[in-house]
Symmetry: C2
Subunit: 226 residues, 2 copies
Amino acid sequence: MRDMGKTTQVPVVQGILSANDEIALQNQALLRQHRILTVNLMASPGAGKTSLILRSIEALRTRLRIGVVEGDIASSVDADRVAAGGTAVVQINTGGQCHLDAPMVRRALATLPLPELDVIIIENVGNLICPVDFHLGEDLNVMIASVPEGDDKPYKYPGIFTAVDAIVINKVDLLPYLRFDMQALRKLVLGMNPDVRVFAVSCESGAGIEEWTQWLEQQATTKRQA
Amino acid sequence: MRDMGKTTQVPVVQGILSANDEIALQNQALLRQHRILTVNLMASPGAGKTSLILRSIEALRTRLRIGVVEGDIASSVDADRVAAGGTAVVQINTGGQCHLDAPMVRRALATLPLPELDVIIIENVGNLICPVDFHLGEDLNVMIASVPEGDDKPYKYPGIFTAVDAIVINKVDLLPYLRFDMQALRKLVLGMNPDVRVFAVSCESGAGIEEWTQWLEQQATTKRQA
């Protein structure tokens, strides 16, 4: 029988991070050491994540060195497109998992030439739901909402629209052929997330890309000086 | 101490189903009893799930009584659109979960007038990944792949393209404005899933809807006679 008169000290651990968040912090520390701005890019399948990455690399080629982490359930078709332009890129295949996680990104970062990079864009798995809950070590969360998906998506996927720092509305070249109320969408997302930046672009025509890449460059400059 | 000489009979349970699959079988039995054809409709956000449901109801109005289960993370905007036409509909809000499951569908079925229905279309959460792993009690799995998403999606989301009985390629009215190789996509999906039916439709113009609804009606007739 235990002596109930003695007080037993039970160790209490507070503020426990998930294993994912622990490793995300390690990724963040590594990226901070290299002063690399890191963007977690999320969207539905086919919204234009790879196209936005290619447009950004092209527009910033002479000013920023961009590396890319491609996340997909399977295949390396996106990484192949990015690598074709000479960019440092690594493909993660999740093998069925519906989002990237920090351990996957850690393994990917180990293969990139970090001292030679200013920005890393991580293209998450095409999914508006699951990626939101997993920190990777990123500085910025950015989502693409494409015009053909419709202007009602914030109602249905509020989690991602409130979690991101910027929303890129892509495929504005299709606006003449679709019912899509850009003003209503802007009003809706700013109501849910007042500090979010909204960009309207076409990765097809190049419209609006300059405004987006200027913002991205500004964020990278701030990071370098931090 | 136990008598090791005696053989203890340990009960062995084999062929264990997941809790979800157990309830999916119960749903299936209930729907079979009512001879209702049940379709699990999956797609990316904004591919046109609700629009295809509305077109199908309209085309089959005089021949089939269709009920609808709407699945979304949040909101009832889709169910409101369906209910406006007088269709029996129930909205499931998953509260963050990235797919429907059999218990949710069981609760939804309890609210529908089953003796008055020939077909139930279940609109799953907009997601190409997670819904595939959860049986609901459906007869048919159908996915929509929309033209603006691009023709390379089977490479990236092979799970869903191989799991479905039919693929509806929606938004063919946008083909003149996009690079999309319909023949290449058909060849790719038939290579992965030789028995799949492929339909090309526009929920905007109505093109191709008749072929799709004829097939759906045929499936419902087979179910009624089973």
